[in-house]
């Protein structure tokens, strides 16, 4: 059974650098520690969501994800326990907060979603056409169940994507260019809306990428999006951003999407992840 007590396991703090990074905290306590640190209209904009976090529907999704993770599935009848998310096969605690990272076995920088797809194909033998891999969105999809489970095991850990390999820094730097790249009929870049503090689009207070305490909440996906009544992923957020910017459809787990996620994760470095989060 997956529940939050799992997260209270006595895990040695890998990064003593940030006092507030503490995997034994519940997601709402992590958020509260950030609110106590910085004055942020973004972090505090929905007291209703903060109140609902202990009953986040994403916990059920994570629980189903744990079962799927352990289950022997696919043509090769294997579980995902042999999948290496960067800290060794089956090691999930704090693995997601150290992604995207370079994987020698594929020669690529991969984010959570692309690594999961890779393991489902190589270990379990699924093909890209199988629903298990093809269906990327919605609380009912295998992909979101698994991502929510794996992500939850990084709650309270500080974001710490490795920058040791030249491809990791190259992807991060390319992601930075993408973040500031204006294009399309409205001339928007991500920076149009996420470069200042306390600004609003209509009634939504926007997170500022230059304030890591705000930005960690912004990038804490999977999160239950109340307005969508579904758990959503980082890749889903990226797709939505480009759609809103009128710049077309970014391909899921393309290197462009992973580069952007590398940059946005690097920008939250040192701050504790809120997983699963709850968003508007």
């Amino acid at each position: 059974m997956f529940n939050r007590t799992l997260l209270v396991l006595p895990v040695v703090l890998a990064f003593a650098a940030t006092a507030s990074a503490d995997p034994s905290m519940a997601p709402e306590e992590v958020l509260q520690s950030l609110i106590d640190k910085v004055d942020s209209k973004y972090l505090t904009q929905s007291s209703q969501n903060i109140m609902m976090m202990p009953d986040n529907p994403a916990y059920w999704v994570a629980e189903e994800g744990e079962e799927l993770f352990m289950e022997k599935r696919g043509p090769k009848n294997a579980s995902l326990e042999g999948c290496d998310f960067g800290k060794g096969p089956g090691v999930l605690e704090g693995a997601y907060t150290e992604m995207p990272r370079y994987f020698a076995d594929t020669g690529k920088v991969m984010d959570l979603e692309s690594r999961l797809v890779h393991c489902m194909m190589t270990l379990q033998g699924f093909s890209k056409k199988d629903a298990a891999i093809k269906k990327r969105h919605g609380s009912g999809s295998d992909m979101m169940k698994l991502q929510t489970y794996i992500g939850s095991l990084s709650n309270g850990y500080a974001w710490n994507p490795p920058m040791d390999h030249p491809m990791e820094t190259a992807m991060r730097d390319a992601g930075k260019e993408l973040f500031y790249r204006r294009a399309g009929t409205l001339d928007f870049s991500c920076n149009t809306c996420h470069g200042d503090t306390g600004k609003r689009i209509r009634a939504s207070v926007l997170p500022n990428i230059n304030v890591p305490e705000e930005w960690t909440k912004a990038i804490s996906w999977p999160a239950f999006r109340v307005g969508h009544d579904n758990v959503r992923s980082s890749q889903h957020r990226v797709r939505g951003c480009y759609w809103q910017m009128r710049q077309g459809r970014i391909e899921a787990t393309s290197d462009a999407s992973i580069a952007l996620i590398s940059y946005w994760t690097d920008a939250a470095r040192g701050q504790p992840a809120i997983l699963p989060d709850m968003k508007r």
């Binding site: 030249p166 190259a170 390319a174 500031y180 077309g248 459809r249 391909e251 290197d255």
Partner: protein, 217 residues
Amino acid sequence: MIKHKNYTTPALTLVAILFATFSYTAVADSLSDSLIFEQGGFRLSQKTQEGGTVKDRLTQDGIQKVCSKLGAASVDSNTAASVTSMARESIKKPAGGIKLGDWKKGEAVARSGYGFRVGHKTDDHSKREAGGNCYACHQLDPNEIAFGTLGPSLTGYGKLRGTGEPILNYAYEVIYNPHVYFPCTHMPRFGHNNVLTGQQISDVMAYLFDSASPVNQ
């Protein structure tokens, strides 16, 4: 797709690795451009409402290129000068001079964020006209509480400034291409980029200037 060779020499320089692994060529002048245009980042061939493709949407024009290069920095005087002159050249005035249209239609333009979205869902302009979404960034009608703050409040715009020729001309140019006055601004170029028609611009101007408009109450 990235062609990844297994490289085992950590001593390779970054540049060599980029060429070996990303195979990004002189066609794209940066890795990010290569990821967009050469490495399958986007559905480039998808059709857009204005009759082009996503590839055209993602291809930057002069102002987009120059302003993107600034990154998080604010605009320097050289960049400002070149952007302002590009913007000045782009301005097209209506043949019969600048006239105020119908503020009620202008209100709809200011409120609507519909239009030009392409991807997993695509806006259909034959069903609904594209809007200007001014409320995303500006306060206008003082009774509307769901207004954005990326831009300044425009409440009482005409009441405070009157409707003389110079101010109408200025507002028209700001809406057509705001980089004339605010180089590398975050405000879209509604005229230059053909987001709004000439009629829609005169209607939204009526919303700003007409004494009967809720903006001026």
